[in-house]
């Protein structure tokens, strides 16, 4: 049986990818950030998930202005890194898990979530930067990936409540998959940031701290937060945080916070990162 044992969230700043790809991780600007992910890399090396369900937003790379899916799931064999305007990132091809992805798609669609199934797409920094942060710079990524892309490009986005409920539906899907798989779910994007307009550069660390606290202990306090509050309080693009709620919904109510890291700033963005294990998994481990 597939076992979804943990959830991980992280910001997915493109500049982090560029720093890695250009060998700048030891520079004073970047060293504290990469140091913050060392325990994470050790945790992943120990936990060895077979598959990561990686929730992210496509930043107008896979999806042209013609098509804006609210929720899309990648069912392809593999996903090539996108060329976002300066060439594709020099990272390994992302290997999918078509059978598991299709199972999830089927389960959540029959569970009344209106997914778009994607059989061919590229993946941008929203997906590859978290991979780099978790796994460093290997020749091959050590786990397969089921990409789930959430629309935060064109308003309206899915509500926080809907995202949390989707996480719960994903949990039910994983629980009915018959293969033995160790599964982790990742919610990416956020935290505070605004990268457009005269208010760009906004960072609200108090908001971020509350969000991190509630994510572990009281997600019900977060699911009702309207998009307006994210955008107003933590910068327009912080609304990416709704994707963290999908991760949280997929976990048990009772989780243990294994690790937390917070750093201001990488490029324009407050970097937040948390690892949650289901308590029942901790018992079994």
């Amino acid at each position: 049986m597939a076992d979804l044992f943990a959830g991980v969230t992280t910001s997915h700043v493109p500049a982090i990818g560029a720093a890695l790809d250009n060998g700048k991780t030891a520079e004073p600007y970047w060293a504290p950030l990469f140091k913050g992910y060392e325990p994470t890399k050790a945790w992943f090396a120990k936990m060895k998930p077979d598959v990561a369900i990686l929730v992210y937003n496509d930043h107008a790379c896979a999806f042209s202005p013609d098509v804006v899916p609210t929720f899309a799931i990648g069912c392809a064999d593999e996903f090539l890194p996108a060329d976002e305007g300066w060439g594709a990132r020099p990272v390994p091809v992302v290997k999918g898990d078509p059978e598991f992805a299709s199972h999830i798609a089927q389960s959540v669609i029959l569970d009344e979530f209106d997914f778009t199934i994607i059989n061919n797409m590229t993946v941008d920094h929203g997906l590859t930067v978290p991979m780099s942060l978790m796994f460093g710079q290997p020749k091959e990524w050590p786990c397969r990936v089921v990409p789930i892309a959430v629309n935060v490009t064109q308003y309206p986005f899915p509500t926080g409540r809907r995202c949390y409920a989707l996480g719960q539906a994903i949990r039910r899907a994983v629980e009915t998959y018959e293969k033995d798989l160790r599964v982790v779910i990742m919610g990416t994007g956020g935290m505070s940031h605004q990268i457009h307009g005269p208010r760009a550069g906004l960072i609200n660390s108090d908001f971020d701290a509350r969000f991190l606290d509630n994510l572990t202990a009281d997600p019900a306090a977060l699911v009702a937060m309207p998009h307006l509050e994210y955008m107003r309080e933590a910068g327009a693009e912080s609304v990416e945080l709704i994707m963290w709620l999908i991760m949280r919904g997929a976990l048990d109510d009772a989780v243990e916070e294994i690790y937390r890291f917070y750093h201001v700033a990488a490029s324009n963005t407050a970097v937040g990162h948390i690892i949650l294990e289901n308590k029942r998994s901790a018992v079994r481990a």
């Binding site: 107008a60 305007g85 300066w86 064109q154 760009a200 906004l202 960072i203 201001v264």
Partner: protein, 132 residues
């Protein structure tokens, strides 16, 4: 204050890309999207005006692109994620792009972020901004 069309219209210095802007910017964003291919970037850089003539851009949109007037592109329906294709093509980092929309110098903007970023205090509502 006149009634706002959307709740988010009250956030200062911020434009939420919604369906109205999506319609307005459809051809502009389609143009940006094509810059994800090196061959298109090459043709664009060799003759920006000629390349843009392939798309049904308005005169205002073309002028904003040529002037790299990023706030104006947003006003004309540009979506920040699509616009990144142009700024990356130009070799700008996201920090340089974002800073360019604030009226600060790149150095001032970078320093503001090193100092913890723009505060939320005074930046929640248009009523807090002198010029809205």
């Amino acid at each position: 204050m006149s009634q706002l069309k959307h709740d988010y219209d009250d956030i200062p210095g911020t434009t939420v890309f919604d369906a109205d802007l999506s319609r307005k910017g459809y051809h502009l964003n389609t143009f940006f999207f094509t810059l994800m291919k090196q061959e298109n970037r090459d043709v664009f850089k060799a003759d920006q005006t000629a390349y843009m003539s392939r798309f049904r851009l308005t005169e205002e949109q073309r002028a904003a692109v040529l002037a790299r007037d990023w706030n104006e592109m947003i006003r004309l329906g540009g979506n920040i994620f699509f616009m990144l294709k142009l700024s990356f093509s130009d070799g700008m980092s996201v920090q340089q792009l974002a800073g360019a929309m604030t009226g600060m110098t790149a150095q001032q903007y970078a320093q503001m972020l090193l100092d913890g970023g723009r505060s939320i205090e005074g930046n929640r509502s248009k009523s807090e901004w002198a010029n809205g």
